[in-house]
Symmetry: C4
Subunit: 191 residues, 4 copies
């Protein structure tokens, strides 16, 4: 089975997730610059979540560039990933409204950690389905980044109990690690 | 006429249905763990509905993998299926808010039953349009699962009047039956 | 330029229009059958609008099956059609809430009339862009149905001032005329 | 890497942006023609934003017609463009509600200016990725329109401080400049 429909469905879900977050930005009732102040934390959390979904889309894009076929397990692994990502708008609005308080930041970290786990499972299922494909085995062999990210998320969740800001910093570090998607994919396709 | 646009439109509608349900999860106003308690039933019903839409998408995906052409009737049968599935978010929010009370659970059962009927009609229309295609006739010949599911939904609706939980259990049993999409499709494509 | 992106974008917009209407169905606060009564008119208007968008999608689907190329004018004609269709959810909620009162029904008629005009313009632009294509000229030569529909909408809007129900009946008659998309397209593709 | 998924994702996001704006049009509670008066400014700002997103989609459509490959930088440049466009619904509702007051019009101008900058960056990244492709270099060599637009936006933002209407006129002039997408693309493809 080809990958095109899985990609189209994922594109649809991610496009909606990334866009509905903007619905939380309500136009202020007054028309002064000060009226924008209460919107600011929501706006910053919108930017961060936009970047996060953007990172996932970009990596998902690269992941399926050289994937040749899908099976039932990959479909479900992908659906599982979309489930956790779909909870990001909710986490965003909570953080946005409550600044950097303990509970929302811990919650956000759990969603990010679970998304990372789901992405890892999807990754593993794709490798499994292409057992005989040497190139895919090579391009995807390195899983250190995945392990390191998950560890960093857990560390971040723990550090929240000292100060939520420390947790937030951990999440941002992981984000930076994934901004550039797997370069091996681009190299392989160019050949 | 090729199937690609019907698939793209269905992907779009299902992507929206699965995602707008999350809009019902409102960030709690307080920032304690207890603040999450009233959200819990809504969250559980979100998970169940997510799985349900996921199951329909997966089966729809497999159904159209070997479908070669569509006609006006198939377009309408598909639209009919999307109509019933589009009512699931409404059912979800009602169950989520009212836990397991009689009326919402019966209503949810009716939506699920009608979705099952619509899927069956779509299935039949595809078989009809491929009369001369032996493979499709073979892959899709078994309709027992469809009949059994519809029967189980009706049983569940009836059992609700004893206790809504009994109905909910019936719905979950049907869900389990469809988590693995038609294996014959995968086997056929691999050959 | 190929048609695939215009189709994908239209599918996306129509998928959203058809689905966001369901957001207006709010779960009743009580859990009796009577609680569903105030939702009933909104539900009926949801069904009608779902069918309307469904009809447009089906006809749009057939229209682009044999269209081979697009140009800037066709892109804008299509955007114009989507604009009028995007106003249907608003019209739906107004009718749904106010049953069959004069103003909303007239308004709904205007939206339907303008959608019909926009579809006709799109249709004409496609014919113009395929001047040298005999088949498209033949398949699309008959415009009587378009003229008749637009006339019937205008009649319906006028009859509203006698009784809104008469207007509504006119709209429903037009809907029936378009439920079966252009059969010539299917015949031509089969050959 | 091919462009198809970037196009599909952008189509999804733009389809949602263009459609969720209509959710701000709430059905009036009364059923007289006068009840439509308070909706009028929101409606006009809906039309303008619809045209703006339409222009961006059309130009984006043409831009990727002859683009042959994408890389990580183009993916991010595109995501950056979508980010600014996603803020248009928010700007629309603010202008719609507050007519032509200073702050919202300045804000709208900033969003439009940043969208223009983002489009320019995307444009540059595509040219960079096709260094050896003479045709793309030729078709996209003229950047005067881009520079002129950005200048006009800045002028418009400045003129707002004299009168918001002057700013709005500048934005509309830029819109007119982009209604017809790059004609060179159509000419090239026809050959």
């Amino acid at each position: 089975m080809k990958t095109n429909r899985l990609e189209a469905f994922s594109d649809g879900v991610l496009a909606i997730i990334i866009t509905i977050m903007v619905l939380q930005l309500r136009a202020p009732t007054e028309i002064t610059w000060e009226a924008l102040t209460p919107i600011l934390p929501i706006f910053i959390s919108y930017i961060l979540s936009f970047i996060y979904i953007g990172i996932y889309w970009n990596n998902h894009h690269h992941l399926f560039q050289i994937t040749k076929k899908v099976n039932g397990k990959i479909l479900w692994a992908n659906m599982h990933l979309l489930f956790w990502l779909s909870l990001i708008p909710f986490a965003t609005s909570w953080i946005g409204e409550d600044h950097l308080m303990l509970v929302p930041v811990v919650y956000y970290g759990i969603i990010l950690f679970m998304s990372g786990v789901a992405y890892y499972i999807l990754h593993q299922q794709i490798i499994k389905a292409h057992k005989d494909d040497e190139i895919i085995q090579k391009v995807y062999e390195n899983r250190n980044k995945a392990y390191f990210s998950m560890g960093l998320y857990l560390l971040g969740i723990g550090l929240c109990f000292i100060h939520p800001l420390l947790g937030a910093i951990c999440y941002i570090v992981v984000a930076f690690m994934w901004i550039v998607p797997n370069k091996k994919v681009e190299k392989y396709i160019e050949q």
